[in-house]
């Protein structure tokens, strides 16, 4: 009697462990399968240097600055209404097109109601919708309203890049074998990357709508997994000096960190002057940021920019 019970228990435990192992292997396979694809020079994408730009003709520069247009995909929810309102009132006005996608509609603000509670399923729907309604736009910026973005600096980053090539940029992070772009500091996709992504969405094996792993992967990691299957890899967005442009921390945080790390060289040692995003700022702080970035300026100070990006209508610039 006792020995039978013990055998049974042993069997159960072994069976359970085996099951767990299989599931583990199942989710790991997703990571290693596309290891054969050439990683080549991709891992970081840098903004053009001044030299690079001065080598272009005036007409080419004009062409590029007119052509680079950003379509913003902003994922909102009624529970963060103040952030939603702030994003709608501030930085999103600098996108050539800004569409808000929500989990459920709100009487206060306009958005495309995807009526979807699952974060990953909702993101998929939003991306698909943005792709189908892209029009002439070839660059896509996916953000949450808790992120603050400077769209002009994003335009500068992708200025000389061809959107018919696959680009998937932002603050590139690593989780085990998987390299992905962090959601909270914004995700940039070229038209080609988005096209491949929307196609792989149809493949339930490679890119299921409801994740198969025992534990749920966050949407940004899911995105990286799906894109990897199409041969698109996460790359870190950097300025010409190699400083990251996408910050998962707030501007106050990065400066405080720099005050500790480089007490004699706080500003130089900090973040890029051409930063594209910051995360973790309150709505009030974002309003102050708009003032600091777009309105307040030192009279007579020349930033020596080679290009001009005109703000879209109604973006409240001087």
């Amino acid at each position: 009697m006792l020995s039978e019970g013990a055998h049974f228990m042993k069997g159960m435990v072994l069976g359970g462990l085996f099951c767990l192992l299989l599931a583990l292997l199942g989710s790991l396979r997703l990571g290693t399968e596309s290891g054969t694809v050439d990683h080549h020079r991709h891992h970081h994408v840098q903004a053009p240097s001044k030299d690079e730009l001065t080598r272009l003709s005036d007409s080419r520069m004009q062409e590029l600055s007119n052509q680079v247009q950003i379509s913003c995909i902003i994922m909102v929810q009624p529970k963060i209404l103040v952030y939603w309102a702030t994003a709608a009132n501030t930085w999103s006005k600098h996108c050539d097109k800004a569409v808000f996608y929500t989990s459920e509609s709100s009487k206060a603000l306009e958005a495309v109601d995807l009526n979807e509670k699952d974060d990953w399923a909702r993101l998929r729907k939003a991306l698909k919708h943005a792709y189908e309604n892209a029009g002439d736009l070839r660059w896509f910026f996916v953000a949450q309203p808790t992120t603050f973005a400077i769209i002009e600096n994003l335009k500068y980053l992708v200025l000389t890049k061809d959107p018919s090539e696959p680009f998937y940029l932002g603050n590139a992070m690593k989780s085990g074998e998987l390299e992905y772009v962090a959601y909270d500091s914004g995700i940039v996709l070229s038209y080609e990357a988005l096209k491949r992504l929307v196609h792989v969405f149809q493949d339930e094996e490679k890119c299921p709508e409801r994740g198969r792993a025992l534990w749920k992967l966050s949407e940004d990691k899911q995105l990286a997994v799906c894109l990897k299957y199409t041969g698109v890899f996460a790359e870190n967005g950097e300025d010409a000096q190699g400083k990251g442009l996408f910050n998962s921390k707030s501007v106050y945080s990065v400066i405080s960190d720099s005050m500790k790390a480089n007490p004699n060289n706080v500003v130089e040692g900090c973040c890029s002057d051409m930063a594209v995003t910051f995360n973790g700022m309150s709505p009030n702080q974002m309003q102050v940021m708009m003032f600091g970035v777009y309105r307040l300026r030192p009279y007579g100070h020349d930033f020596h920019d080679l290009l001009m990006f005109d703000p879209p209508e109604g973006s409240d610039n001087d």
């Binding site: 102050v288 003032f291 307040l296 030192p298």
Partner: protein, 201 residues
């Protein structure tokens, strides 16, 4: 204007940031240090603020009068965009008795400049301020630095000049930026008193 308590926490950061854009900067304190700070014959504390200001201007008049045209007084919690200050001052003559800042109207008939927002004296204004105390025309009749200095300016016929921009907007601010940028919903009042908020768009 600073003191030993704030050198590390505040004044150090001023020294590393906006103060670099001044032609000359002096850090006024009650203690001499390698910061470097100037030792004025005063004690620290809000009650002694006007004395400190008087001594500071007397010190500058004695040692540094010819080194500048305009003399900015700022506290260790003030942030100044020096380029914009230069731009504002560019249309005024430093040999005229003028001073600029954020003008408040109560108490003094020609008004006075807010201490917290920082204020600037022309060279002539500085001469007259010091002269006022030398001759006894100006006295330490109050602790309230900005108001009392405003009284002395009036006595010595130093005029308040306009620091507002071409659109009539203020350029000196006694509060931090978010005070002016964030619209606050009107608070419920017991009686019908109109609440006018400063600044904003």
């Amino acid at each position: 204007m600073t003191g030993p308590k704030n050198l590390e926490s505040r004044t150090k950061h001023i020294r590393e940031t906006w103060a670099k854009r001044c032609n000359k900067v002096l850090y006024m304190s009650s203690v001499e240090t390698d910061f470097p700070t100037v030792k004025l014959n005063v004690s620290e504390g809000r009650e002694n603020l006007y004395w400190k200001t008087i001594r500071a201007f007397q010190y500058i008049h004695q040692h540094h009068l010819d080194e500048a045209d305009w003399f900015l007084k700022a506290d260790d919690d003030t942030f100044v965009v020096i380029e914009n200050l230069r731009y504002t001052l560019s249309t005024y003559d430093p040999e005229k008795p003028l001073y600029l800042g954020r003008r408040f109207t109560p108490f003094i008939s020609q008004g006075y400049m807010s201490g917290g927002a920082g204020y600037v004296l022309s060279k002539e204004a500085l001469r007259r301020f010091v002269e006022g105390f030398d001759t006894g025309k100006c006295t330490h009749f109050s602790n309230i630095e900005d108001m009392a200095l405003g009284k002395c300016m009036e006595t010595m016929k130093v005029e308040p000049a306009d620091s507002r921009d071409v659109k009539g907007r203020q350029t000196f601010h006694p509060f931090p930026p978010d005070h002016y940028l964030i619209r606050q919903p009107p608070r419920p009042r017991p009686c019908s008193v109109a609440f006018v908020s400063r600044g904003g768009k």
